[in-house]
Symmetry: C2
Subunit: 205 residues, 2 copies
């Protein structure tokens, strides 16, 4: 792409550094900003700068937060002895949306992924182990995505915690509510049969 302006080229380049944004999309977004008033661009850049420079992470669960201790961790109605281990803030939001969970979270900040150069020391695993060591936690629920990296991370944490004799569980894998059996993949369907639950339990939800 040949640009008629260096400023335009630079803006498109920086925009296209975002994941999933190619050069053409970046150009479309940047031209959109040019068509809008200057205050539009100002609001966007200010919000991004403010977020990046002032963002805090909850000292207990490491979730993104505006204060030292996030709303969930400081809520006395949440069960602090039950901790759900998730990858990032989006997982917390997804689980909170279900209104089914009354425990706390522990946000790892990623998954162990040697290919991307992410090792256990890049995640908040140490702080989770410390919390368990201090005897604050009774049960840990693993809720990472079931990929190679997610399974590796689960297993790594599981081995770290083994000696402390706490309960560990993982979210149920199975056929999604409303899905047709014939379109399910074999692994999921197989697991959903192996890990079947008493019929009465399914009546409760």
């Amino acid at each position: 792409m040949e640009f008629s302006s260096k400023l335009l080229e630079q803006a498109v380049y920086e925009m296209s550094q975002l994941p999933g944004i190619g050069k053409r999309t970046a150009l479309r977004l940047v031209l959109h900003l040019l068509r809008q008033s200057e205050s539009h661009t100002e609001h966007l850049t200010q919000a991004l700068t403010k977020l990046r420079t002032e963002i805090k992470f909850c000292k207990n669960c490491h979730n993104i937060s505006d204060v030292e201790l996030c709303e969930i961790c400081s809520n006395p109605n949440r069960d602090a002895s039950l901790v759900c281990v998730v990858e990032d803030v989006r997982d917390v939001m997804a689980i909170e949306n279900t209104s089914q969970y009354r425990g706390q979270y522990h946000v790892l900040g990623g998954k162990i992924s040697p290919l991307d150069g992410i090792g256990p020391q890049d995640l908040t695993i140490h702080s989770l182990v410390e919390k368990v060591k201090a005897g604050e936690i009774e049960e840990i629920i693993f809720a990472l995505s079931s990929t190679m990296e997610g399974d590796t991370t689960n297993f790594y944490i599981y081995r770290q915690l083994e000696q402390y004799k706490i309960k560990t569980s993982t979210i149920a894998r199975g056929i999604a509510v409303g899905d047709e059996l014939e379109y399910a993949d074999e692994v999921t369907l197989g697991r959903s049969i192996l890990n079947r639950i008493p019929f009465e339990n399914s009546l409760k939800n």
Copy 2:
């Protein structure tokens, strides 16, 4: 979506104001920036701010430019008597990429679109008419997209210029090179037969 942080919510909101970016995509982009170093966000916001505040438009063709008179308009090898009317900078880039055109451009900045509240006075039509009135232009090529709005804009400009007796043309519509006839729409195929060209001409390209 419930956010654990107002800063995050604000950044996601501003990002989702961009066209084609929904809340989920905005969240993904913003979280990406949070995972990168602060300088990443700085570079992005600086490039956008610089573009929005310092951008110039060529005083002759109204294309985006860093200087008063853009590279194309100031190039003595380009034919100033031949002007291609386009919608925006992307069309200029697309035509320049073909290396087939040696004239100049006139960037309208949009199309006449009553539904979006864009009238002739919002575009650079007046300045095009002035150029024609001054006798600088011999031929005008309409290269707007062939939509209702594009056709309306073409026709509006055509009527404005009628009295000056200059040559007006429009880019050829037809079956794209490499396309199969059976998949072409009827309007395009019909026009490509009506506006057929001498076979010898097709050998030149």
